[in-house]
């Protein structure tokens, strides 16, 4: 199917200010998306609050608004521009939250704006802890046992059932902000009360301890025709309990047998199919001796997608943008080979190592313990024919 004919103008929401958990990678993916849409003859309206980005350069979009990324302002832009669709899944969490809020306000339905790519329903199913849990249970995919709580008292009750330590994850936050590992009751109270504060819907998940399990991620893509592919997998050198953003990450996985790899790959594809995501998606697993848990699903282009994209040469954001306007994977060209379609899985003959960078020089008093929330402010990626080569290149740069 060629691109949907009724989509002539698309509103792209930028990633906003650069902060921990949301850095230049979303400028990278947003710019790729703008370019990909314009290639297909779609008029691009861009709104971003951060003028110091590539995507706000004149040639990136047809109309550019540099305005605060708050629902009232974006609603006015929708009113003025009457776009046919809105692209939510390429500007990081900020854009996703913005789209959700616009939908809740009724702006999208009032002005007949379609959410392109991944439907909002899928976003809720993946991001809201309780719904995510229900979805995984329905499709028989194992998740760590856990409970969503809205108060510290409720969290304390969980200890009676699951014991300590416990992992705490707030809903709807960036880079796992406000999350952590609670080893004592005191830590539990502290982390939960902070987590409730930062969560957009005042909700945190208190869950079973999978600390020390292998942490494996998959980058998956799906189109409206239900073709699913995985771009690559990634293995975290630091196991579960340390945020991916704080961990050294290697692509492809180094210690998984084919059986384990295929088991997780099959689970990743089952999940993206069930959630009906159209575009890119990042899925995290914990793995220990052949058994696994689904940890998290990011129904959007993420920080890891930027890494996967650069590591394999597969332009995830570009392809996701084209899927969003109705193209199928086998109709999208492969920019690397020029001959074959985008419906393939990259086979790499090298190793990629990513190392995080912390700005302790600028924040000398910051807590230097690595936990489930992200403190690194940047990262380095290197490619080598051996693990040692890639590691050394990354350390030296």
């Amino acid at each position: 199917m060629p691109k949907a004919a009724d989509i002539e103008k698309v509103l792209v929401i930028g990633s906003g200010p650069i902060q921990i958990g949301q850095a230049a990678e979303f400028d990278f993916s947003g710019s790729q998306a703008c370019r990909a849409l314009r290639e297909e003859g779609v008029k691009v309206v861009l709104v971003n609050s951060n003028p110091a980005t590539i995507m706000t350069d004149f040639e990136m979009a047809d109309v550019i608004y540099i305005e605060p990324l708050v629902p009232e302002v974006v609603a006015k832009i929708v009113e003025k521009e009457h776009p046919d669709g809105i692209l939510a899944s390429l500007g990081g969490q900020t854009a996703l939250n913005m789209t959700a809020e616009l939908a809740e306000m009724g702006i999208l339905s009032n002005y007949n704006v379609r959410v392109l790519g991944t439907p909002l329903e899928a976003i809720y199913n993946a991001e809201e802890r309780e719904r995510f849990k229900r979805t995984m249970e329905r499709i028989n995919e194992p998740i760590p046992r856990g409970f969503t709580v809205n108060s510290v008292e409720e969290a304390e009750k969980v200890v009676a059932q699951l014991g300590l330590p416990l992992i705490i994850r707030p809903s709807y936050t960036l880079g796992g902000a406000g999350g952590g590992v609670a080893r004592t009751m005191e830590e539990l109270r502290e982390i939960v009360s902070y987590g409730l504060k930062v969560s957009r819907i005042h909700q945190v998940l208190v869950e079973e301890n999978v600390l020390g399990w292998k942490e494996i991620e998959y980058e998956v893509m799906r189109d409206a025709k239900d073709t699913c592919i995985t771009i690559c997998n990634m293995e975290n050198l630091d196991p579960m309990g340390i945020h991916t953003g704080e961990s050294i990450v290697v692509t492809p996985s180094q210690t998984l047998s084919d059986e384990e790899h295929q088991m997780l790959r099959a689970a990743a594809i089952k999940i993206i199919r069930w959630l009906k995501i159209e575009g890119g998606c990042n899925i995290q697993f914990a793995l220990k001796e052949g058994s696994y848990r689904v940890i998290e699903v990011n129904p959007r282009v993420s920080r890891s997608s930027a890494l996967a994209s650069k590591a394999t040469g597969y332009p995830i954001a570009r392809v996701a943008a084209k899927i969003a306007i109705g193209l199928h994977l086998d109709e999208i060209g492969n920019d690397v080979t020029k001959e074959t379609p985008a419906s393939f899985e990259p086979a790499i003959d090298y190793v990629v190592v990513k190392i995080p960078r912390w700005s302790f020089d600028k924040f000398p008093d910051a807590d230097r313990t690595l936990t489930t929330s992200m403190k690194s402010t940047g990262e380095v990626m290197a490619i080598g024919r051996t693990f040692e080569e890639a590691m050394h290149k990354a350390l030296r740069s």
Binding site: D226, T340, E345
Partner: protein
């Protein structure tokens, strides 16, 4: 341990030997999957070939023994960029070096596999000679590379097929499997569906197969040029139209030949776990494992079978069926081992569920 690899075009590379000492000759082919070395080494379809993996780090998770696709290593020789002597995995029983040594297969590491892969892609599959341990004059290795017979002149199926017929009991319908070098995962997949399996050697007679009163026949994967599978072709002709016939990989090629199509040798084959196959009925694309150096000529398939699936990269034949004769076959490996599980249920449920 010194080791060299000589190619028929005069290329000689030197690296570190591992596995067994000795000399191996065969076609040098490359595969691109980054996991599953235990499965590919023991895949009988690699008989007559020296296998090179494009992914550079091999052996990280050791060898478990439980993922083997046959009774031992089937490749003639093995070439990698870097091998791992200290594997880390809860199932690992030994290192890749110990595995190769035990089965007497020579291997080479610390060579530029990327260069060799590019050469193969550019000039096509080449004949090669691998010498490990007592390396003689390079001239001798080059001569062995050049003078060895072409893969199409070798009868490889008889080297990997089972010696005697055997049965894997099940409750369901009866299937006669012609073992041309079958991978264990295929049998496991059929057994999982509880069919009563009768496995026959490649040279089995029609009467023997008939005695098992099969409800269907399956032609397995296997090594070499499909045109060497004369007996298998005659079996197809005998049963076509009478009971359903299924084919996987070499099986598909032999069925196509038996029905009057032609096959040809691909420039460097499809070997890896990332080959996109487009289903022409649904328009969906599946990622598959493949391991074949020959393909069915699409033009000669016309009027013989309905093309159902093609490779999304080069449009070669990936599946065809003939509803009148009850024939269904695929060029890729739905049983995986190694590779994606995307097509397993589609093939085994739909084809064997009938």
């Amino acid at each position: 341990m010194k080791a060299i690899l000589a190619l028929e075009d005069g290329t000689v590379v030197e690296g570190k030997g591992f596995g067994a000492e000795g000399t191996a000759v065969g076609e040098l082919v490359f595969a691109t999957s980054f996991t599953g070395y235990e499965e590919v080494l023991t895949d009988p379809s690699y008989k007559g070939q020296i296998l090179m993996l494009t992914y550079p780090l091999i052996g990280n998770y050791g060898v478990s023994g439980s993922h083997c696709q046959s009774d031992g290593i089937k490749v003639e020789g093995f070439v990698v960029r870097e091998r791992c002597d200290f594997p880390s995995h809860y199932q690992s029983k030994r290192s890749i070096d110990e595995f190769l040594k035990q089965d007497g297969v020579p291997a080479l590491s610390e060579v530029d596999t990327r260069m060799l892969t590019i050469k193969t892609r550019r000039y096509g599959t080449m004949k090669a000679c691998l010498q490990v341990g007592s390396v003689e004059e390079t001239d001798k290795a080059l001569e062995l590379a050049k003078t060895q017979p072409d893969i199409s002149e070798l009868d490889l199926i008889e080297q990997v097929t089972c010696k005697n017929p055997y049965r894997i009991k099940g409750e369901g319908k009866r299937i006669a499997v012609l073992d041309l070098g079958i991978k264990r995962n295929i049998l496991d997949n059929i057994a999982k569906r509880n069919w009563d399996i009768f496995v026959f050697p490649a040279n089995a007679k029609e009467s023997e197969i008939r005695d098992s009163e099969p409800d269907a026949v399956l032609l397995s994967n296997g090594p070499g040029d499909p045109k060497r599978g004369k007996n298998a072709m005659s079996i197809v002709k005998k049963f076509a139209g009478e009971i359903p016939i299924f084919g996987i990989c070499l099986g598909l090629q032999i069925i196509a030949l038996a029905l009057g199509s032609d096959t040809y040798k691909l420039k460097f084959g499809h070997r890896g776990a990332n080959q996109p196959v487009k289903d022409l009925k649904t328009g969906r694309v599946y990622i598959t494992t493949q391991n074949h150096g020959f393909a069915v000529d699409k033009d000669t398939l016309e009027g013989i079978g309905e093309l159902t699936q093609v490779n999304a990269n080069d449009r070669t034949v990936e599946g065809f069926e003939d509803n009148y004769l009850g024939i269904k076959c695929v060029q890729y490996h739905p049983e995986a081992g190694p590779g994606p599980w995307d097509t397993g249920r589609m093939f085994f449920d739909a084809f064997l569920g009938t």
